[in-house]
């Protein structure tokens, strides 16, 4: 039997999914053991048990000075920026995607411009954003928007262009105006793809969020990581990294669930 035709069974598949996670954990554990055996006060690779204790402390005990549980405050602040940035970018991308995809005049005007804009490294303009929008929340949200908007616009306008010519022609023969075609045909067909595009751009969005927080902030997950870096507090950093990863995975799953829930017609065929 060819390798391409061999399918793992249910049990084996579950084991295979878990394997790389387990291997990574074991590799870390061994490395940590080796370093701690050589120097018990080593800070670079804290033992998993230490990380667990730190995590427990971070999630439950308030900070001594401010009397607040900092991790939750950081999470709330970061999520707020992320949701605002991604939300505004999605809304703008939907509007521009529809305009560029449907209207040849807008396409001629903007498609090339957006393609060039998307080549600007967003982090390179971060100083400009700080200068223009100050060091507050606004500049961080704007960085996320600047970072993911060009990709979203290009992706969504392409998706609009992929709507079959036949479907658009059919709507025309039913007497639909450009507005009706945009609202009743293109937009609903675009929304599931928007969610896909958001899922793809969540990674970059986190990147820009943490970059902005690392440089100038007073609260936030990225801020905290770069703050405790000064004390080589690897246990705190790792806790935050795992927490961020978990949040990102949960968002991805939630978006996937939302897409299935809201757009049953996309999967109805299968």
């Amino acid at each position: 039997m060819r390798l391409i035709n061999r399918q793992p069974g249910v049990v084996l598949k579950t084991a295979l999914i878990a394997l790389p996670f387990l291997l990574a954990f074991v590799a870390y554990w061994i490395g940590s053991e080796i370093r701690l055996a050589a120097n018990p006060s080593d800070k670079l690779l804290p033992a998993p048990s230490t990380i667990f204790e730190t995590a427990e402390r971070l999630f439950t005990q308030p900070d001594r000075r401010s009397d607040r549980i900092l991790l939750w405050h950081d999470t709330a602040a970061s999520l707020m920026r992320l949701v605002l940035g991604v939300g505004i970018a999605s809304a703008l991308a939907t509007i521009f995607g529809l305009l560029i995809g449907l209207l040849p005049h807008v396409r001629a005007t903007l498609a090339g411009f957006v393609a060039v804009l998307s080549m600007i490294p967003p982090l390179a303009v971060l100083p400009i954003l700080f200068i223009v929008f100050g060091l507050g929340e606004l500049s961080k949200v704007v960085l996320i928007i600047v970072g993911i908007l060009p990709f979203l616009i290009r992706d969504l306008s392409q998706r609009v262009l992929e709507i079959p010519r036949e479907t658009i022609a059919k709507a025309e023969t039913l007497g639909a105006s450009s507005l009706v075609i945009a609202l009743r045909v293109a937009l609903p067909q675009l929304l599931p793809r928007l969610i896909q595009a958001i899922r793809l751009s969540l990674g970059p969005a986190w990147l820009f969020l943490i970059a902005a927080e690392a440089i100038a902030s007073e609260v936030g997950l990225g801020y905290r990581i770069f703050l405790v870096r000064r004390f080589l507090a690897m246990d705190v950093i790792l806790t935050y990294v795992i927490w961020i990863t978990l949040l990102a995975v949960l968002m991805d799953l939630a978006l996937r669930w939302l897409s299935r829930r809201l757009f049953p017609w996309t999967e109805a065929g299968l």
């Binding site: 059919k170 009743r184 017609w265």
Partner: protein
């Protein structure tokens, strides 16, 4: 005065001619089958009738109106695929036939209820009332095409254009679709243009069969000349093999 007139139609894409000197007059209520080899401009001619494209030269007029510049309510269309809106339920697809012409494409209140009621009547007539709340993707190919035809007719077009509507269906479904289309036509008496690959289908359903082919052929450059209507058959009295050549065309008569 004929209902649909195509006068001296030329269509070329860039330097490549697709259609040349296409002349045809169609009376109201006629069912025109359009057949021909692949790449002979059948679908191009249908797109011209739909006004999705405009001819390089010549004019197509429906009911004496000036040539259309874009598809509109007077022309209904069903393609081989993508002719229904996949994001709407079967019932909404029928309602779309009425509400898309409004300002925002929505009906509200009593208007909406009335449209849904009419849609249910339509669905019952075309045998889709049991799947009214399903999405088109869950329907078989034949049901989807029936829905597409029903939707097109809801808008009450003056001519119905079918581009290989049954091309993707299995032979059994295709036969029942023929009956379905024949019935609908008897009810509405609409002018229909149907492009098909299937000669038998063309002669069975059509009152007239237009054959598109290239009258001139350059063996060193197959794309040098465009296609035109080479035969125009009257197919009313039973189809194959009783057809007669109806018009004097400018090409060779069959021997």
């Amino acid at each position: 005065m004929s209902f649909v007139t195509a006068e001296n139609i030329f269509q070329s894409y860039g330097k490549r001619p697709i259609l040349e000197r296409v002349n045809v007059n169609v009376d109201e209520g006629e069912f025109i089958s359009i057949v021909g080899a692949s790449g002979c401009g059948k679908s191009t001619f249908l797109r011209l009738l739909l006004a999705q494209e405009r001819p390089t030269r010549g004019e197509i007029r429906v009911a004496g109106a000036p040539p259309a510049v874009e598809p509109g309510l007077d022309r209904g269309v069903v393609f081989q695929k993508y002719s229904v809106f996949s994001h709407m339920t079967v019932r909404e697809n029928i309602v779309a036939g009425e509400c898309f012409r409004t300002r925002f494409g929505w009906f509200t209140g009593t208007e909406r209820a009335a449209a849904r009621k009419r849609a249910d009547d339509t669905l019952a007539r075309i045998g889709l009332d049991h799947v009214a709340d399903q999405y088109p993707a869950t329907l078989s190919g034949g049901m989807q095409q029936r829905l597409a035809i029903g939707q097109a007719l809801t808008a009450k077009p003056r001519i119905l254009l079918l581009d290989e509507p049954f091309g993707a269906l299995d032979p059994g479904t295709r036969l029942s679709m023929h009956d379905f289309l024949t019935e609908l036509r008897a009810e509405t008496g609409m002018t229909v243009f149907m492009v098909t690959h299937d000669l038998e289908e063309g002669f069975k359903l059509g009152d007239r069969v237009l054959v598109f082919d290239k009258p001139r052929w350059d063996p060193t450059d197959p794309n040098a000349y465009g296609a035109t209507i080479t035969y125009d058959f009257d197919a009313r009295d039973g189809g194959i093999p009783y057809q007669r050549i109806q018009e004097e065309t400018h090409v060779l008569r069959p021997t």
